[in-house]
């Protein structure tokens, strides 16, 4: 595809497009607090308490490094319970020790730091939707470069009478780029267009239940597993794959989908230009970032070394 993109680019723009560095005066803005916090109820095997990262925004062309803020007052509250978080120096975030979020509860976050406007936010942990079954086909097809892609089929029942938001992620030690032909994914605004030559597939797929509300659904996603060539052919590595099927809050969904859109628009597309810029959604009042809840159904899948016939 690289070769084709290059030639298409070359010919469409008549071999003479040109890039030039320019300078512009940008107005200086007061820095704001940036919050990063996703919270999940107690889930085995890796239960996590609340954790909140606090940093700050800076002028766009500022060359200084943005360090984390370690001396803010970070307060989590729900109903009548108020907890102040402590900064964990080794993990580089604020946490609450062994206090775990609960499903269905609304949590408020307040962060106070001198020199900045105090930020507040709130979100809820959504109800959990589990996979009813899943299946993996390690050799589902090959692309034009001869790379093998695998297919994971996920079955689930969307609860009726409520608005649900989902996320699918496939990881090993790192997260795989995944793609899908399902309309519930391809109809999402963030999902790269079929005509976006330069766009990479996202590392997570988010979708809502607009088209499947209250129905059973079978979702197929694809990814490229680690693979290698030997003298006698191509092999897929032996590997342990984690399939994450998440039920996420609306804020989580809005934040991550807008983040994907934002990042795609940063790159631009040689055929479609940079498009209209998109600001990342934030539910942090007076600041930037996200404070959002989710639940997760994770499956561990062992794949043995396979020779591609």
């Amino acid at each position: 595809m690289q070769k084709k993109t290059l030639f298409f680019l070359l010919l469409i723009f008549i071999l003479i497009s040109c890039t030039k560095k320019i300078s512009i005066d940008l107005p200086k803005k007061e820095p704001k607090l940036v919050i990063n916090s996703f919270f999940i109820p107690f889930t085995l095997p890796y239960p996590e308490s609340f954790k909140v990262k606090v940093s700050q925004s800076s002028p766009l062309l500022d060359t200084s490094t943005m360090n984390a803020i370690t001396d803010a007052t970070v307060i989590i509250s729900s109903d009548n319970q108020i907890d102040t978080m402590k900064y964990n120096d080794s993990l580089k975030y604020y946490d609450l020790g062994f206090t775990f979020p609960e499903a269905g509860k609304n949590y408020q976050l307040k962060v106070i730091k001198s020199g900045f406007k105090t930020v507040i936010s709130n979100d809820v942990v959504p109800s959990k939707v589990k996979m009813t079954s899943y299946e993996i086909n390690p050799i589902a097809g090959t692309n034009d470069c001869g790379d093998i892609y695998s297919e994971i089929t996920i079955n689930f029942n969307d609860p009726p009478n409520e608005e649900n938001f989902y996320e699918v992620e496939v990881s090993e030690d790192t997260t795989f780029q995944i793609f899908s032909n399902d309309n519930i994914i391809t109809s999402e605004s963030y999902y790269p267009s079929l005509l976006s030559f330069d766009a990479e597939n996202p590392e997570y797929l988010l979708f809502n239940d607009n088209y499947i509300n209250g129905e059973k659904h079978q979702l197929k996603v694809f990814y490229y597993p680690r693979q290698y060539d030997e003298s006698d052919g191509r092999y897929i590595n032996s590997q342990v794959i984690f399939l994450h099927f998440r039920s996420v809050s609306e804020n989580y969904y809005k934040y991550k989908t807008s983040l994907l859109q934002h990042l795609y628009r940063q790159q631009g597309d040689i055929l479609y230009g940079t498009g209209e810029p998109v600001n990342v959604f934030s539910n942090i009042e007076n600041g930037y970032g996200i404070f959002a809840g989710y639940q997760e159904d994770t499956e561990t899948i062992l794949i043995k070394t396979i020779k591609v016939e």
Binding site: K32, S58, E188, S258
Partner: protein
């Protein structure tokens, strides 16, 4: 409806009241060689105010007092002026024939003046002479009427080398583009780089930016009225052009001499540029214009017009081994088809009518097909998206020449729209995948759009008017909209060479466009007005002066305008046309408003060896949506404060023409980020207010030269053009990116150089630097 018919019958009967002691001369104005009609020819009595111009079908009617004889002058730019004496004892049908090739300033005719901009009952109207346009510099050897119109004041291109029109702060969907009276919905080839209009098949081009006559409606910002040629009634002719990206050929001639003629023009990209590189990408486009014109009788003519044009981009990958056969094909295809049957009927010397029955179809298709076959697997996946609009249109128009000072135009129009917002088909089958064969939202939405109008052109010594009103109605799924659209135009003739013009127009638009405004592939989705998405409306006031001097060789006008638009739509932040089209009402912002105001100066030299124009525009345009930009008003994307368009053509010798165009424009608005932060491990930018920054100013000089030669077999022309002569790097868009720093490191095995991301910088992307092109045209 009964009332409307009664009014029409009453108006028709009015003609008889004026018949006493006055006689009417009427007929058509033709080119004497080809016998094609001439649109907009002047017919007048010298040293008087009695004058008329031929209409869109070449018909004229002039009612005069009974006299023994009357002298008439007939003139048309690029043609020899004709003078004739007529014995006026009864109503007469006189067809007028003009000889082409000699401009009116090159012959001595005294005692008359051509009808100038001062007298013309119009404002904000731009006319292009096809002969002149063909000599202007071009890109890729392709003459483009849209690019010529972009040099006029009040018209923006929307981007380097693009053929879109942004008229007086309006967007391209707000332009009513008519080819032989039939609307076209998409008018560009090759990623928007040049228009679908084949200059060899075009007779007349008129752009109306304001002061809209009541006969036009359905769009907010402009009317582009393009008339196709009819074909030579006398002789067969072939003409063609070989160009870099397209070649074309036209064939025309009589089917029955002086009675029936035809013209067919075909244009296609002949060089398979992408195929040459064998990269699996193909881009093809074509268009066909055809017309048959038949005189049924002295009072009746019929025309059949046909246009079809398509663009197709295809990307194909195929892997074939002894055991595997894998194919992936992606294609995008879009185009228009148009067919129109028109009947001109002359009821009597004062009443002319035209009935048009037409069909127009715009469609956009996006197809993906993937198949994988091996000894053990046979897998197929197909994903198709179709979107389009089809119109079935019936239109009946009347021109009623009551006397030289009063002319009525009235008519009815009914359009049946068939919208296919999206039609998605998904199919998959194979041993390892579940079988899916499904369609999503395969639903057409149909709507009726109806209009009736009345227009009255009244001339008094110092005062001309065009009053009109248009009643329109739109009906979709039991949702009905009604509208009254008043139109006013006053032309106060202050002196022989100076006039003051004022106009007011209300316009309604019942179709909406969702489109991506990026660089490359077009992707226009036309959507209906619905219960939730109400018709767009505009109100435009214009005030201007017009002056002619040096015997009308020069025309000068200053026009100011103020336009208010309401019920505009736009995508919600981050939404685009891909995917979500079935729920399009949910992804758009509704009830937007817009303001556009400006001042336009145009100086034109119409005749002589050196002709051309300079247009200067000072303008502002903005938009406001409750949920965009925090509800604050922001500049329109193509708001340009200052703009200059200059076009000059100079005939060095009879066979050599030199031309140049220069454009200058202050920078388009752009949205830029001002802050950054890190979130989820990614660098995030915070964008400031929409379009709150300006890009650098734009300017460009193009030059061209035409060498024309008459040969034993006919005529040939070499055209050489240079686009962007002084190689100005104009901004197309801006983007931020981190600099790449080359860092030398010692990795333990030796010294190596690596790329390291450095500071964030702002970059300007430019396209189309200095680019020469040539074409070869022939005619015999």
């Amino acid at each position: 409806m009964k009332k409307i018919i009664t009014i029409i019958v009453f108006i028709i009967s009015l003609g008889n009241c004026f018949a006493q002691n006055r006689y009417t001369i009427s007929g058509y104005v033709y080119d004497n060689k080809s016998k094609e009609v001439l649109i907009g020819a002047n017919i007048f009595v010298p040293n008087s105010k009695i004058a008329t111009i031929s209409n869109e079908y070449g018909f004229y009617s002039l009612t005069l007092s009974a006299k023994d004889s009357v002298k008439l002058i007939v003139s048309y730019i690029g043609y020899k002026t004709k003078s004739l004496k007529i014995l006026l004892t009864q109503n007469k049908r006189i067809n007028l024939f003009l000889e082409s090739g000699i401009e009116i300033d090159e012959v001595t005719v005294t005692g008359y003046k051509n009808k100038s901009i001062v007298e013309r009952n119009e404002t904000g109207v731009v006319r292009l002479q096809m002969k002149k346009i063909k000599t202007l510099p071009n890109l890729f050897g392709e003459v483009d009427i849209m690019k010529s119109l972009q040099l006029m004041p009040g018209v923006q291109s929307g981007g380097e080398a693009k053929s879109s029109l942004y008229v007086r702060g309006g967007s391209p969907d707000q332009n009513l583009i008519l080819l032989d009276d039939v609307p076209l919905y998409y008018v560009s080839h090759f990623g928007g780089m040049f228009s679908i209009f084949n200059a060899d098949a075009i007779n007349d081009v008129k752009l109306i930016k304001g002061g809209f006559p009541a006969r036009y409606g359905s769009r907010l910002s402009s009317v582009l009225d393009i008339r196709m040629r009819e074909g030579n009634m006398q002789k067969y002719h072939v003409q063609g052009t070989l160009g870099l990206l397209s070649s074309k050929i036209s064939f025309e001639g009589p089917i029955i001499k002086n009675k029936t003629s035809f013209i067919i023009s075909v244009r296609k990209n002949l060089l398979p540029v992408f195929k040459l590189f064998d990269v699996g990408v193909t881009y093809n486009y074509y268009d066909i214009n055809a017309k048959i014109n038949h005189k049924l009788s002295q009072n009746d003519r019929i025309f059949f017009s046909f246009y079809s044009g398509n663009d197709k981009v295809k990307i194909k990958n195929e892997i074939k081994t002894s055991s595997i056969n894998q194919k992936d094909t992606r294609s995008v295809k879009w185009g228009n088809t148009l067919a129109a049957l028109r009947w001109n009927h002359i009821f009597n010397s004062k009443l002319f009518s035209n009935l048009t029955l037409s069909y127009t179809n715009y469609n956009y298709q996006n197809n993906i097909e993937s198949s994988y076959k091996s000894d053990s697997t046979d897998q197929n996946i197909t994903n198709n998206l179709y979107s389009g609009i089809k119109d079935i249109n019936a239109k009946f128009d009347f021109d009623y020449y009551i006397n030289p000072n009063i002319k009525l135009r009235y008519g009815i129009n009914s359009i049946y729209h068939i919208f296919t917002p999206n039609d998605i088909y998904y199919f998959q089958e194979g041993p390892n995948i579940s079988h899916i064969d499904t369609s999503y939202n395969d639903i057409n939405t149909n709507a009726f759009e109806n209009a009736v109008y009345l227009e009255s052109e009244i001339k008094y010594n110092w005062f001309n008017t065009n009053f009109g009103v248009r009643f329109s109605n739109y009906d979709i799924k039991n949702q009905k909209y009604y509208s009254i659209e008043p139109r006013l135009l006053f032309n106060f003739i202050l002196t022989e060479n100076l006039s003051l013009k004022y106009s007011f127009s209300t316009m309604k638009q019942y179709v909406h466009l969702l489109s991506y405004s990026g660089v490359g592939m077009p992707s226009d989705f036309w959507m209906p007005t619905t219960k939730n998405v109400v018709p767009e409306t505009s109100y435009q006031n214009t005030l201007g002066i017009a002056q002619s001097f040096f015997d009308n060789k020069y025309e000068f006008s200053i026009n100011s305008y103020y336009k208010i638009m309401s019920n505009l739509i736009a995508f919600k932040q981050g939404e685009s046309f891909f995917g979500n089209i079935e729920s399009w009402e949910n992804v758009i912002e509704k009830k937007g408003t817009g303001n556009a105001y400006g001042l336009e100066l145009l100086l034109q030299k119409m005749q002589g060896k050196t002709t051309g124009w300079i247009g200067i525009t000072l303008s502002k345009a903005d938009r406001n949506f409750a949920n965009l930009n925090n509800g604050k008003t922001f500049p329109f994307k193509y708001d340009r404060l200052f703009d200059v368009g200059l076009a000059i053509t100079h005939k060095i010798k009879e066979n050599i023409t030199l031309s140049a165009t220069w454009t200058y424009g202050s920078g388009y608005p752009i949205t830029l980020a001002t802050e950054k932060y890190t979130s989820s491990g990614k660098e995030v930018y915070v964008y400031d207010d929409i379009n709150s920054f300006k890009m650098r100013d734009y300017h460009r000089l193009d030059v061209g030269i035409n060498f024309n030669k008459k040969t034993s077999w006919g005529e040939r022309t070499w055209t050489i053009s240079i686009f962007n002569l002084y190689n100005r790097q104009n901004p197309y868009y801006y983007y931020f990116e981190r600099e790449l720093n080359f860092v030398t490191i010692n990795n333990g095995y030796g010294i190596s150089t690596i790329n390291e991301k450095g500071d964030l910088k702002l970059y300007q992307q430019s396209f189309f630097s200095f680019f020469p092109s040539f074409s070869y045209s022939f005619k015999f």
